[in-house]
Symmetry: D2
Subunit: 351 residues, 4 copies
């Protein structure tokens, strides 16, 4: 019998659900014990129900597991959720009310006053917010979320700057990979040789989530970051990896470029100190090459958990310009939730 | 015998040189009479020397024309130049000194104090600067330039805003097509499924050219625009069409969105008033669809001479965000020079 | 009042339906008077119901037309059908039974004994088969079909060879564009940087349709062509244009390459002789360049109605190898049906 | 001091040269001790001279190694060659004459009567041919080659069929990745959204190499395979992995599909028996999925050393159709040469 904690996956057949299955295959603490998806999949073996889209093979044990109904009955206590927002809004509260620890990648509850929106390297202390949740008080269950795939790489690059230099203004323009839209997601006729300058609700999420992530716990909520933030989001013909052109203004001056680069390269936080299994050694890595980061070369850095920054140079309008890249379905989704779960575990929330 | 003015093309075998050949095929005023390229091509029929990369067929008469040596002797008086900057720096002055009207797409002389950098819709009055050129005084020859392919779409979108609302700040992030790098240009291994966040010298050109274009004639030079300007340039897997995510701050407030959109849609200038043959009816067109402009649909608008703007929305940092798209080898290169030549002609400079 | 014949489009919102709308915009004989699509679209203006995916603008008059229910009541007599096979199998007989001339691009009835499968340049005489249809006898209505998008380019290249040299064996491997799968069609995650070596039922269609097209009218049916035929079908990351690597064995020998090339270039047939409005001047064109045809350059040849052949060379196994390219949604779908309708009209079947 | 054998790489800065560096980084028997490239690179550190295009980082020790002149003086005895054919024709004989074991991926000498063209799983006994080389007799040096990247996957799929069923006829159409053309290789303007139906000399190589590989040692040469063979080669927008649509006729009949599949899956040969370090456990693997193999999922099978076959189905012309995929710069180039070197070592040719 395994000593690992059994976990369930809600929305297991989608692209992010598949990443959960893949990342959990050899996880030292957790083990997939339950999978749920839409009614259409219920009762079928996972290997049949999921159209597996990852390059590694589908883990055999999981492939043979039957897909369950998306109800808390019979589900394990720890639930990873990768649901569309509208479905998450309905299901996640049910699972939390039933006593589950819902570690969610969905956007539905991210901005809920009592729901922690957490990147373990950035704002691990926000986890505590879950104690304010009504579910927690009644059943012990709770919901913890990670940010949108476009916000996470940006915030990892911003956090060391906020710590050392205090942000005044942030402007970001994204070039986002198609896997961020799930499967079937973006039709090939829409993206081959093209750029789509619009992703529904993405800019709003990026702006508000960035401010919440870099905000401060304040009684029963989070006071958003005090800097100004603007985002523009584009879709490009890349499979995995969101690239972002960023400009920032800093309050503490002067910030020398070598100080900024050191702030990124030396940034370490709770996941590294606690040696969480999915934590990259270096959460943010600066590439000195003139033309990096690039999805082709850098997306899998740190097993897809490291954000790569490059091209730091002065900005004639704000202070500095740079480019950041992160893996949108690993660090930007499944890996983010997994790292949240690991943090919850070491803090005793999963006992 | 044709009544059209004979013109020559310097750098005729490259991608922009080919666009000149294509756009001049049925031109009412000009006619290709002379083609020059590198030594390697000299003496060969153009159809053999050029690796034709456009979708329309190579015009038969031009295909059979012999490629000449890149020297002023024997060249016609009007010369379109599509040379690499380093070669242009050497050759363009030679042709101007020999009495030629050099209408150049090259970057070499764009920022030269006495060389007009012109978009006929934006700053036609800058043409006069050519009278200050030493070549003009000695031989009658001169050099007129058009901007970089990434600057031109941006400046067309900015010009109506500058006119009506006065620009305070401009931030632009580009997603540029591979044809902007010429042929062979970007290796496929570098761009398939990738984004390259760096184009050598592109950001510098975009910033300084934008300020010169929106500057003001000031004795024997141009006083640059008074707004602040920052650019970030990326290469994406698109064939033709540079897409740009732009944010602006305006001095005159409030500017209502319908006023801004009207400023774009109603923008008309010298080329429209003078009915220049290559002038689009509408130089700037606003697309109301949520997800436009896109290279796939909008790049050929106005025969490739119209810049398409879309997605106007408030910016939490500056005032407004929008997206602009323009065809980088038509409006951004050959078509830009051709329109400059047409403006020169109606103003009597080509007599 | 227009003197044009009113036509309807079944399946008007899909990619092929859109091509019908586009190609009919300026048609001298036909005029769109009725559009039908799935229930979801019924009653909505076409411009809203269709997600327009073509580069030219949606014709204004059609954009404002209401989408009708897919029932014969109220439909015009001439119906272009661009339906999925399963729906076509149900609807097309209804329209034929109601007296309509159904000119179909759907696969449902192509192999029906009494349904003509026609390329006007190849087997115009097969049209007569419609007289055997029970619908024709009862109501005057009938169904005429055009082949699958992968068969049509191949058969256009084969027809001149069959005429002059008699085919013994044909082997074809396709590299098919994503637009052949409709919209949303192929997910971008499936095709970016990839080849998919499988298109459901495509090889079967290509093999049996090719034999029927090059077969001979035989009483109340078609005796299939007497040659052997094998197809392999692949999907590639191309927007429009199916490329096919073909090898053939000919019965009449020797066939010299210049004879074969002349057979292609000089191939003319009913549409050219009758000056049908959508007929290309040259239905098959041989490109002498070593590396052509290519989708990028050749797909729009003859307004998308010409098949381009290239690379004729000896085959060590059969006799000859060559490459053929044709536009899959113009010559391979909407244009094919339109040309069929034009042939029907001049033959008096639409009176 | 290392007990590994020092090896050199000729053409070390190209794409295949880089693969050699990558695959040798942790090799148990060999160690990079010497790198040579064109004059332009001579004397520079490898990390500077090579434009590294692989996803894994450049090995530090190699990055700091100085690039040598491409002359035998000072070179180690074992040389991997990844040169353009014209240069290889000149340099490889020099190195062999100087006593080196030249293990070459270049095409220059592949069809030379006394030069073994070897896939260790297919024709290991051909290695002996090197004893006929004049170089061998004089200096002990020799040249051994591996096939073209398009031939190798095909021949791996054919070898088990030839063994068990005897080939009569083979027809193959390739869809080849851009990395096969090296770097910069295929310009992006040529391949984005396109198929190029021509690769210079590729079809000839594929046809003659396949026959030599499946031929039989015959005194001082190789009697080519007795089957008929025809190839058509296309370039597609894929980064790594050549996909091939193949049809075969077999002499021994009937061959049942399960026998053919077993022949592939159970195919083992010298490299597996000898446990060569780069040998994949299973050189040929049959994928039962309807739509596989695909470059996206299967290219890295067996560390890039396994050829994946799929879609076995009857052919109406020959007997069987199938699809084969192999990694063109691993199994098709650097890995092929490396496996040859390993075979040479266990046979004592490198002592």
């Amino acid at each position: 019998m395994s000593a690992k904690l059994p976990v369930g996956i809600l929305g297991a057949t989608g692209i992010v659900g598949q990443r959960f299955v893949q990342m959990l295959e050899h996880h030292p603490w957790f083990e997939v014990a339950w999978l749920a998806a839409s009614d259409r999949s219920e009762g079928r073996p996972y290997g049949e129900a999921a159209r597996w889209k990852l390059k590694s093979a589908i883990p055999r044990a999981v492939a043979e597991m039957k897909v369950s109904s998306a109800r808390p009955e019979g589900a394990p206590k720890i639930i990873f959720a990768a649901l569309d927002a509208s479905i998450a809004a309905e299901l996640e509260p049910n699972f939390a009310a039933a006593g589950c620890a819902v570690v969610s990648n969905s956007s539905a509850l991210r901005m809920h006053k009592h729901v922690p929106l957490v990147i373990p390297e950035v704002n691990p202390e926000h986890i505590k917010l879950l104690e304010c949740q009504a579910w927690r008080k009644k059943s012990g269950g709770f919901v913890v979320t990670n940010p949108n795939c476009s916000a996470i790489g940006l915030v990892m690059a911003l956090a060391p700057l906020e710590r050392q230099f205090t942000l005044d203004t942030v402007m970001a323009v994204t070039m986002q990979a198609v896997s961020g839209a799930g499967y079937p997601g973006v039709p090939s006729l829409d993206i081959l040789g093209n750029v789509i300058p619009y992703i529904p609700k993405e800019e709003e999420k990026m702006e508000e989530e960035t401010l919440k992530l870099l905000g401060r716990l304040n009684g029963g909520g989070v006071a958003p970051g005090k800097f100004k933030m603007s985002a523009q989001c584009n879709r490009v013909a890349v499979e995995d990896g969101h690239t972002e052109s960023v400009a920032v203004k800093l309050l503490k001056k002067p910030a020398r470029p070598e100080e900024i680069i050191a702030a990124w390269n030396e940034f370490r936080s709770a996941p590294q100190e606690l040696h969480l299994p999915s934590a990259p050694q270096q959460p943010v890595s600066y590439s000195p090459a003139a033309d990096r980061p690039q999805p082709r070369y850098d997306v899998d850095s740190g097993g897809g958990m490291t954000a790569t920054v490059g091209r730091l140079r002065p900005c004639p309008v704000l202070d500095w310009k740079f480019t950041v890249l992160s893996h949108n379905t690993i660090r930007g989704a499944a890996g983010a939730a997994l790292l949240n779960a690991e943090l919850l575990k070491v803090q005793g929330y999963l006992d």
